[in-house]
């Protein structure tokens, strides 16, 4: 479950849009986790063993990005479910 606080007086649409905004913020955060530099350096190692080190670091950054993206998807999916439960309609597309 996500930790999003839901205001009971808020309309389901506003709650959904708030959750989508939070998900979008997390996607921007995930985009900052860019492992491209590590992959490039791994292809041009300047000392023996640097390739392994860079690939390891790239793996860490990739998993951070995957985790953040998954959090964003979860927040959005939960909000869409909540919207459907409250209104009986599918959540509007962005």
């Amino acid at each position: 479950m996500s930790n999003e606080q839901v205001n009971p007086n808020e309309s389901p649409k506003v709650t959904l849009m708030r959750a989508r905004l939070r998900a979008a913020q997390l996607r921007v955060e995930a985009a900052h986790h860019d492992s491209g530099g590590y992959h490039r350096q791994a292809n041009h190692p300047i000392y023996p063993g640097q390739e392994d080190i860079c690939l390891h670091k790239a793996g860490i950054v990739d998993s951070l990005r995957a985790e953040t993206m998954a959090k964003a998807d979860l927040i959005e999916a939960e909000a869409e479910e909540a919207y459907k439960a409250a209104t009986g309609e599918e959540a509007p597309k962005c």
Binding site: L21, A31, D34
Partner: protein, 183 residues
């Protein structure tokens, strides 16, 4: 501040111009902000035709952006002005924000560097302070008179705080006099 409709237009232009993960994520963020603003206001989502942002910079004057793209400068600083400057032994370099991670600040001017053929970098304008600093070059500027090589701020070494000047005239009257003949 952009309206929700303008944010949507900005997102549209950003997503169409740049296919990088960061640009697409930022476009998504702008759309999400616009959607929330519309939902709070209880209005239907709309997309504006333009999303103009105006900025005022030294030398260039008023600059107009549309969707993170510079579309107009009050005082264009291009080929002929640069050539005239170089003939007078002066070089001006503009440092722009090109990273899409800058979001709404993309393509904004970050710094202006002014240097002379003899001395190298002499003046720097910074967006954060909006003021000018005097510089002293170590002499290794090479062909890049405006911002090449190593330099430090022109102030007593014991003084910790920077000395800022509001205008080029206050910071370096001789450079201001040369620039006045060009602009």
């Amino acid at each position: 501040m952009l309206t929700a409709a303008e944010k949507r237009r900005h997102a549209q232009l950003l997503a169409a111009r740049d296919n990088s993960v960061m640009a697409q994520a930022l476009a998504g963020l702008l759309r999400a902000e616009a959607n929330l603003e519309d939902a709070l206001a209880g209005v239907e989502p709309q997309t504006a035709e333009h999303c103009y942002i105006d900025r005022e910079y030294p030398l260039l004057g008023r600059c107009c952006y549309d969707g993170g793209r510079l579309i107009e400068t009050q005082h264009p600083w291009q080929g002929e002005q640069v050539a005239a400057c170089k003939e007078l032994g002066l070089d001006v370099a503009f440092q722009w924000a090109s990273d899409p991670a800058c979001g709404l600040d993309q393509q904004e001017l970050i710094r202006i560097w002014i240097g002379t053929r003899e001395t190298g970098p002499r003046l720097q304008w910074d967006r954060t302070s909006g003021k000018w600093l005097r510089l002293v070059s170590r002499g290794d500027f090479g062909k890049n008179w405006a911002c090449g090589g190593h330099w430090r701020e022109d102030k007593p070494i014991a003084q910790r705080q920077s000395i800022y000047y509001d205008t080029i005239e206050a910071a370096c009257p001789e450079i201001a006099a040369i620039l006045a003949t060009i602009a």
